[in-house]
Symmetry: C2
Subunit: 326 residues, 2 copies
């Protein structure tokens, strides 16, 4: 199986994706100078656009993309951007190991406000388009995402995450939005609940696979590509699937010893020791197996749809997610 | 004129306010432990509940309070709580003069997420109640509030705020939500646009008067009551109406000298010097005059309504806002 390239996957929606880009740029316009400045900065750091791509493909597998689809794509991308901006509040602080500069604090203030601004812009567009079912889905997603992150934060403090809790966290914080993208895309075209639910489930399974893979890459990714060192989760005391599995393979004194190292704040040498421990205990293999299982479930959801370019793209997207190297 | 006491003002809606308290508590429930913990903490620090009081009084001046009114009151209080929680991100940092502890950073993370959570909870309730006109109003208010704060933040950096910019900022960041409260309250009862607009304008003028008074109290409030020292705005380099006016009364070298002191970060002695400068240049008197003008405009808006207990309460609320000592 050849790992798909994201730019190949979007061929069925190439024209629509440029159309989205234009609409998205427009949706961020503001008369307030600093808002324009920050949004230009955000637009400059183009992301992979996985979420709008999901909306567009999930729509196209159901029929022809329309204005509602674009509004949905804009809404999820605004929402995703808002959460990224809010994430910066935390990430900035961590990069500086607990001592942000005054400059970093200004960024905090701006990051919080810009996140609120982008979120409300997205919701306003849904309200103006009278896309009330989108609104229902999206507000409950925002709530799930915040709850997921809060659960992870509190569990991180106690370092007591088991496998079911792990799935609950990643389902809330990551899969919920991808699932919403697919649901919104399908719903923008049709009201066949079977197909809408199939797409929603596809997004959920894809999202879980995506996050497991993300967590694997934190252990064995190519650090030069992602631009950050391996073991970031260990340093941040985040217990993810590879470690959860590895800890269960050893006797209690050994697992307690590992947890103690993480708790006290592991330095680079200790981080490498823990990565080695996880690899030796087959934590990576197990997590890869689970990611593959969720990937297979995601593909199964598509069986309800007849063959099309969009269906092939959505199938390949699953492979892309679990086979990517960064 | 006797300064009204807030507890007297709420007599016309006493029963409804307890009913609101119950509903609000319920609206914050969560299965996630840390969310429960933080919300209990928030519920414990009971605020003045100005916003739900405004919703309830604005409804009662129009007719009998109903379920829609309560949903509106809950929505605005959730939203207000969300913004307070987000404000903590900034305030915490400032208290520690640019060096928050690791503990303070954890709070940042939780504050950002809890704010997002509360905001989405509020919006979800509006979606579930199918109160789409509330949603339209509230999402545009969230956007205005964020824009107002962002404008203030960027202007603060440059210290170049004139009077029109000041009104734009306080209208967006403070008056917009109070105006929304009154609009939502009226709209929950009737669809007479004249009365709805009268209540919306009442809220807007009240909000501007409220913020001017807040800014005055930062110069001449009783610090022992508010629990924070005077001149906080000067330390945070926020230029508000008393100072804007005072700076305009003196020659450029003198105003440049004052701005330079603020820019370089005033210590307590310098803060007192600037407070004295503002008082001597009659900045407080001017701001009091402007607050009184907006207060009068707010009262005028009520002339469309016939006499009632609620109308008297809304009139006294204006006096309360401009005459309060903290």
């Amino acid at each position: 199986m050849i790992t798909s390239n994201l730019s190949e996957l979007v061929i069925p929606i190439k024209a629509e994706l440029s159309c989205f880009d234009e609409k998205f740029k427009k949706s961020m316009k503001s008369k307030v100078g600093i808002v324009e400045l920050v949004t230009r900065f955000i637009l400059h750091q183009k992301g992979k656009k996985i979420r709008p791509i999901l909306v567009l493909l999930s729509a196209k597998i159901c029929g022809e993309i329309n204005e509602r689809t674009y509004r949905g794509a804009t809404l999820v991308e605004l929402l995703h951007t808002a959460t990224l901006v809010h994430d910066d509040v935390v990430d900035n602080a961590e990069q500086r190991r607990g001592f942000p500069s005054i400059n970093a604090i200004w960024k905090n203030k701006i990051a919080v406000l810009m996140g609120d601004y982008l979120l409300s812009r997205g919701l306003m567009q849904a309200v103006e388009g009278e896309d009330y079912d989108f609104l229902r889905t999206i507000t409950s997603t925002v709530k799930r995402m915040a709850e997921g992150e809060l659960l992870q934060t509190s569990k991180t403090r106690k370092l007591n995450i088991d496998e079911p809790t792990y799935y609950k966290i990643i389902s809330d914080k990551t899969a919920s939005l991808l699932s919403t993208c697919c649901e919104i895309g399908a719903r923008s075209i049709l009201d066949n609940e079977d197909k809408i639910i199939a797409m929603r489930d596809y997004g959920e399974f894809l999202g879980v696979a995506f996050q497991i893979k993300d967590d694997i890459l934190d252990y064995v990714g190519k650090s030069s590509i992602i631009g950050k060192p391996l073991g970031g989760d260990i340093k941040e005391k985040k217990i993810t699937l590879p470690l959860i599995y590895a800890l269960k393979q050893v006797e209690r004194p050994e697992s307690q010893r590992i947890i103690k190292i993480i708790k006290s704040g592991a330095d680079s040498k200790k981080v490498n020791e823990i990565i080695e421990f996880v690899v030796n205990q087959k934590g990576i293999e197990y997590a890869e197996k689970m990611a593959a299982e969720y990937a297979a479930k995601a593909k199964e959801c598509l069986s309800i749809f007849s063959e099309s370019e969009s269906k092939s793209a959505l199938t390949s997207l699953v492979d892309f997610v679990v086979e990517r190297k960064n």
